[in-house]
């Protein structure tokens, strides 16, 4: 009994010792940069650290918010996120329902489905670029010469519209396994007697989904949609490596900072995106279940 009473007093010190490396790193490389971002956003900052920066007040914000390219990029990003989140969630759910039964090679098939999710982006991107090559890609060959789906193939990754469609499909293909795994886990916990009861009541497949499945998977559905939306909204790597025709916000920010060397402007974009992120997190906090630990 003594130890339990004593424990309450000494825990704080020990906790701080154990948490020190984590807190130190996160304060230095997440919290401090966050505030540093706000500060930089009020300056004109040369990329060379030896040169002085000049205070310019809200100029970066005024510039960015009146820049039509930024607003276009914002719209494009919202569309990209909505389509890719919607697509990957629906596909993930459909495949999970499809897998939610015993069949031959189920485990192998499940592992293979997740392959696109675990493989590094750089490997996947080379395969896609090769498949969609304008002169010798297999897609042009199959679509044009074999199945005659199109007469004149679009310039895939060299055309803004076809690139946009392709990066959305790429995101759906790459990220649906995450939804699939999450849904499959929760589907397996649903009591099959609920379906049998609904069947006796004469429910159709759609009604069974609406009455039994949907309420049961709701917490997972909300979590999957929220997290994937946040992550895709800030997507950079996949799209940047696939094409230079789709400037979503992550790429717009990256180019502002490291192609046009305008760090102050880039910082002001980061701050605006932070504000958007915080609104989403606060709105989502009550609803998103972080594996039951929230």
């Amino acid at each position: 009994m003594k130890t339990t009473i004593k424990k309450g007093k000494t825990d704080f010190k020990l906790a701080m010792v154990l948490l020190f490396p984590s807190l130190f790193l996160l304060l230095l490389l997440v919290a401090y940069p966050m505030f540093s971002n706000i500060q930089i956003s009020f300056f004109h900052l040369p990329i060379n650290p030896r040169l002085d920066s000049t205070f310019i007040g809200l100029e970066n914000y005024i510039n960015i918010l009146s820049d039509i390219e930024f607003l276009k990029s914002l719209g494009l990003t919202v569309l990209y996120t909505a389509l890719a989140v919607g697509g990957s969630t629906v596909l993930g759910l459909l495949v999970a329902i499809f897998f939610n039964r015993p069949f031959m090679f189920r485990k192998t098939a499940r592992s293979l489905i997740i392959l696109s999710y675990v493989t590094p982006s750089i490997s996947l991107i080379f395969a896609w670029k090769y498949m969609f090559n304008n002169s010798y890609g297999i897609v042009n060959f199959l679509g044009g010469d074999v199945f005659h789906l199109f007469k004149q193939a679009p310039l895939w990754f060299d055309n803004p519209v076809s690139s946009f469609i392709l990066v959305v499909i790429f995101a759906i293909w790459r990220y649906f396994p995450y939804a699939f795994i999450s849904f499959l886990a929760i589907l397996q916990t649903i009591d099959s007697s609920l379906y049998e009861a609904a069947e006796i009541d004469g429910a159709s497949a759609w009604q069974k989904f609406k009455i039994v499945t949907l309420p049961a998977i709701m917490p997972v559905l909300i979590t999957v949609i929220t997290l994937r939306s946040i992550w895709l909204f800030y997507m950079f790597t996949d799209v940047y490596l696939l094409t230079n025709k789709v400037d979503i916000l992550g790429i717009y920010l990256y180019k502002t900072a490291f192609a046009f060397n305008d760090l102050g402007q880039a910082a002001s974009i980061s701050v605006i995106l932070f504000i958007i992120l915080f609104i989403v997190i606060i709105a989502a906090r009550k609803r998103v279940n972080f594996n039951g630990n929230g």
């Binding site: 424990k7 825990d11 906790a15 701080m16 154990l18 948490l19 490396p21 984590s22 807190l23 790193l25 230095l28 490389l29 997440v30 540093s36 971002n37 930089i40 650290p49 499809f98 069949f103 293979l112 997740i114 392959l115 696109s116 999710y117 675990v118 590094p120 982006s121 750089i122 490997s123 996947l124 080379f126 395969a127 896609w128 670029k129 090769y130 002169s135 010798y136 297999i138 790459r174 990220y175 396994p177 995450y178 795994i181 997290l227 946040i230 992550w231 997507m235 950079f236 790597t237 940047y240 920010l253 990256y254 900072a257 490291f258 880039a266 980061s270 997190i281 972080f290 594996n291 630990n293």
Partner: protein, 284 residues
């Protein structure tokens, strides 16, 4: 009669099911098939305008090329990636274990706040911090070093590592610890001899997660690294791709070998661990 027709519908259903399954697998795995087959095609065949899926003539030349430092600097990039990913994931797991233990098992003031802020950071994306991080890394004199990447990768994966480890530690009953305390073990000994062995599968999945994130990173490597001696695989391969003399078969062979470590790790952890590897979530 009725029985025969029901048997027939059952059969039709089964055929339809497996047909759908095969279609699904072919569509999702098609890019992997192309990657694999192109790696074995000759350079001429890879750019043929009437391509076949399987090579007409199989060649191992591309695999020999990527492991030949004279032809292709692949091994340098591989080594750099390995150093960064291994160091970062070992450190993230180690630091994470102690942090997660405190958040899971100790009672102290400010715990809820720390917990909440870790969850918030978990949702963050690296792209939001590129500008100040670039300044900080340059300021610390770490520009163009592997250390810059190791540190950033630890920070990128740590919140998730703590969050995943904490949920594993939460399942370990407190009685076990109390019994160990009565036996005279201190907290550190409890972590080493009780908590770690009991959550080894969780620790492995956290390690694999961190390794995957670090192995996959393009963003920070492209900002922090300028000398090709220090290139990791993602930036190194992409830089080669931008030069006019890339060879498709070689790029595909490099892509395959690049994917191999994480796919093997994933397969092993899938086989031995019940836990869910996707908990962490690949952010991209």
């Amino acid at each position: 009669m009725a029985m025969a027709s029901s048997k027939k519908t059952k059969m039709t259903k089964k055929v339809a099911f497996y047909a759908t399954l095969i279609l699904l697998m072919v569509v999702t795995l098609f890019p992997f098939l192309i990657m694999l087959m192109t790696a074995f095609k000759s350079s001429g065949e890879a750019v043929s305008t009437s391509p076949t899926i399987f090579p007409k003539e199989w060649t191992f030349q591309h695999f020999q090329d990527i492991f030949n430092p004279v032809v292709f600097p692949y091994l340098i990039y591989f080594k750099n990636s390995l150093i960064v990913a291994l160091t970062a994931s070992v450190l993230a797991v180690t630091i994470g274990i102690f942090g997660a233990y405190a958040l899971s098992k100790l009672k102290f003031m400010g715990k809820t706040t720390i917990n909440a802020s870790f969850y918030t950071v978990y949702m963050f994306s690296g792209i939001l911090l590129v500008v100040p991080l670039f300044k900080i890394i340059s300021g610390l004199g770490l520009y163009d070093t592997r250390t810059s990447l190791i540190i950033t990768m630890i920070v990128q994966t740590l919140p998730t590592a703590i969050f995943m480890l904490k949920s594993y530690f939460d399942t370990i009953p407190d009685d076990l610890e109390e019994a160990a305390m009565i036996d005279g073990l201190n907290r550190i000994q409890i972590i080493l001899y009780i908590i770690i062995p009991l959550s080894i599968s969780g620790i492995i999945s956290v390690f694999v997660y961190s390794f995957m994130v670090a192995w996959n990173d393009y963003l920070f490597a492209s900002i922090f690294i300028s000398n090709s001696e220090n290139f990791t695989l993602p930036i190194g391969l992409n830089a080669l791709f931008s030069t006019p003399d890339y060879v498709w078969g070689r790029m595909m062979a490099a892509s395959l070998v690049t994917a191999l470590p994480v796919v093997i790790m994933y397969a092993i952890s899938e086989h031995f661990i019940k836990g869910n590897l996707t908990e962490g979530g690949v952010k991209g």
